[in-house]
């Protein structure tokens, strides 16, 4: 049993550089608080963890079904506001504890996903992008107009902390991030034997008409993508609200929706690991650029432009293509330095 597990590990993880890097990286993330205790570093990483969930859920909706969602902040903001309202308990009876308010907030994100779906399912391409763009902006208008429930520009503040110590906060965000990303990765894994959603989502992206002709109810799967994406974006939103201890209109901003897209496309769209790489590179970089506050956004935008001009597929995909080579015969992934396939010894050139 153990030896089989080890053999699988050897064949499926160690032999594939991309996965090996991922495992080492996540192991390092677990060890970081042992070496680094500065609250500022941990804070940056906690935000990075939350935004990873957020960006990956964007990739899940938009990358995998090709539904360009420009208003992803809607799910984030709805969940943040719902968690905040439940936790503060103002119009809804008693204060809800944090372990209840975040999941219920995420469910509110799911509901937002379903509502956004109603017009979205009929639209395609740019039309869809622009309609989804409208939703968070409409909600922002409503929030500003009803200040007695939402606090208007100031938002709802004074929420419970996730925990008393920053290190615990860090581990909570890390674990939630790992579980969420793992679930979404599995749901989109086209080679999985357990769930069929991966291959179906890939089919819808490649050719929606062909997928329909093969008897796939594409509407149902698009709805499914919005529900799952909305839920996980909602979890990120709830965590964010409780960590910041405030839910304000900034959680619905256009910038946040675009951030998700920038992180994902920068890392590599339709790949799940792309947005992970994108966030862990770009978010800490943005924090680092605070040393030159006036030039911060300029450098950020400049780097995005340059990277996309030379690697239109995204940086993670570009690196992976350099590190890995697929065997033309058995489709097994090999390290770049091998001249023959590790399983069937076909020449890789």
């Amino acid at each position: 049993m153990l030896s089989r597990l080890f053999r699988d590990f050897q064949g499926d993880v160690i032999a594939i550089p991309g996965r090996l890097i991922a495992v080492v990286f996540f192991a390092l993330l677990f060890l970081i608080p042992l070496f680094v205790q500065q609250p500022y570093v941990l804070r940056t990483l906690i935000f990075a963890n939350m935004f990873v969930i957020f960006a990956v859920s964007w990739d899940f909706i938009s990358g995998y079904t090709g539904q360009m969602n420009f208003g992803h902040a809607l799910f984030f903001g709805v969940a943040a506001y719902t968690s905040a309202m439940l936790n503060r308990g103002a119009p809804l009876g008693p204060d809800w504890p944090i372990w209840a308010s975040i999941p219920v907030g995420a469910l509110a994100g799911t509901a937002a996903g379903v509502i956004m779906c109603l017009p979205a399912l009929r639209l395609r391409g740019p039309y869809l992008a622009l309609v989804t763009l409208a939703f968070p902006l409409i909600l922002t208008g409503i929030i500003f107009a009803n200040t007695q429930f939402t606090g208007g520009e100031l938002g709802i503040s004074g929420l419970d902390r996730i925990s008393e110590s920053r290190t615990v906060d860090y581990y909570v965000s890390l674990l939630v991030m790992l579980v969420s990303v793992f679930i979404m990765w599995k749901l989109t894994d086209a080679r999985s034997g357990l769930v069929r959603t991966g291959i179906i989502l890939h089919a819808i992206r490649e050719d929606e008409i062909a997928a329909r002709a093969s008897g796939i109810n594409t509407i149902r799967y698009k709805l499914f993508a919005f529900i799952v994406g909305g839920f996980f974006a909602g979890i990120a939103g709830g965590l964010y609200a409780h960590f910041m201890r405030i839910a304000g209109p900034s959680t619905l901003e256009l910038t946040l929706s675009f951030q998700a897209i920038i992180w994902t496309v920068f890392g590599g769209i339709v790949s799940i690991y792309g947005p992970v790489v994108g966030v862990y590179i770009l978010y800490p970089m943005m924090e680092f650029l605070r040393v030159v506050p006036e030039f911060r956004m300029l450098f950020f935008a400049g780097i995005v432009v340059v990277i996309l001009l030379f690697m239109p597929e995204g940086i993670a995909v570009w690196i992976r293509d350099k590190l890995e080579r697929e065997c033309p015969r058995c489709k097994l992934t090999n390290v770049w330095w091998r001249r023959t396939c590790r399983a069937c010894s076909t020449s890789l050139y």
Binding site: M68, L118, P119, R122, L123, R124, G125, P126, Y127, A129, L130, V131, L133, A134, F135, L137, I138, L139, T140, G141, I142, F144, A145, E208, I209, L254, F258, I261, I262, V265, F266, I269, E294, F295, M297, L298, F300, A301, G302, V304, V305, L308, L309, P312
Partner: protein, 290 residues
């Protein structure tokens, strides 16, 4: 009040129509969502501020200078950035979005975030049936009207216009018919940026100038062209006036209208698209149909 609504709708609608028309042209011809479009509007407005206020030039010269410089900048942007990744749709959106941020940040560095205002080209007002209309507003509407008619004539009457419309209909066939597609794309980018620059120049004296001013019209332009049907010239003009009317009505009639004006306009767009997914004047291409 009704007169106020009419005047404001016409002025606002004119500006929106200028912006949306350019955006719509680029999308129709190059099939590219050029998200830095309203950045050029902001740049042109700052151009007016620089030439007319800081350097004290004559209004005519400062208008011409800022339109020409902005258009040149647009062409440069197209050549350097957009043209190279035109095939990757998401990448184009992101690069142009990042460029909009770059322009905004450069302006922040040069002019700081301080609120600026440009001098009015003309002062005074004109009384029509008891309503005072500032000459500046009249100028905005008249300017927008002239430019819109000119572009309409260009598109429908001249050889260049026919070439542009042919490219929009089918790039490959247009290419086979001997139309130089890359030149046409460049020309369209020039016209579109020019339209944005004209809009920026016209409204500059009536607005508070700051580098973030590109975002409110950005959202409205998106809403307008979606409402009118992407790539449709008629649609973007009609859509501009419809959404301008909605905005103005909400501001005049609701107590918290100023917060809700954007939301109401966007809500109208969502409702129209739910009923008519291709927009008011949009065309559904057979191969793009679901």
């Amino acid at each position: 009040m009704i007169e106020g609504i009419v005047v404001n709708t016409l002025v606002r609608g004119g500006v929106y129509a200028l912006l949306a028309l350019g955006f719509s042209l680029i999308f129709g011809v190059a099939r590219v969502l050029q998200l830095s479009h309203t950045a050029f509007y902001m740049l042109a407005a700052y151009g007016i501020f620089t030439f007319a206020d800081l350097l004290g030039w004559d209004p005519i010269w400062s208008i011409l200078a800022s339109i020409i410089i902005t258009t040149g900048l647009g062409l440069l942007t197209y050549k350097l950035f957009i043209d190279r990744v035109r095939e990757h749709h998401v990448t184009v959106m992101l690069i142009t979005l990042a460029l909009a941020i770059v322009f905004q940040e450069i302006m922040l560095i040069f002019f700081t975030g301080q609120y600026r205002s440009a001098p009015a080209f003309v002062t005074g007002y004109w009384e029509i049936i008891g309503v005072k209309v500032a000459y500046q507003h009249l100028l905005i509407f008249a300017g927008a009207l002239v430019v819109l008619v000119a572009v309409w004539m260009l598109l429908s009457k001249t050889k260049l216009g026919i070439a542009i419309r042919a490219t929009a209909q089918d790039t490959e066939i247009a290419n086979l018919m001997g139309i130089n597609v890359s030149t046409i794309l460049l020309v369209v980018m020039g016209i579109a940026t020019g339209l944005a620059a004209v809009a920026g120049v016209l409204v500059a004296p009536t607005l508070v100038l700051e580098p973030h001013m590109l975002w409110p019209p950005f959202v409205m332009v998106m809403a307008i062209i979606t409402l009118g049907g992407l790539g449709s010239v008629k649609g973007s003009i009609v859509g501009a006036f419809i959404l301008a009317l909605v905005e103005v009505l909400v501001v005049y009639l609701l107590p918290t209208g100023a917060f809700l004006k954007g939301a109401a306009a966007l809500l109208v767009m969502v409702i129209v698209l739910t009923v008519r997914p291709e927009g008011l004047f949009g065309v559904v291409f057979e191969e793009e149909r679901l």
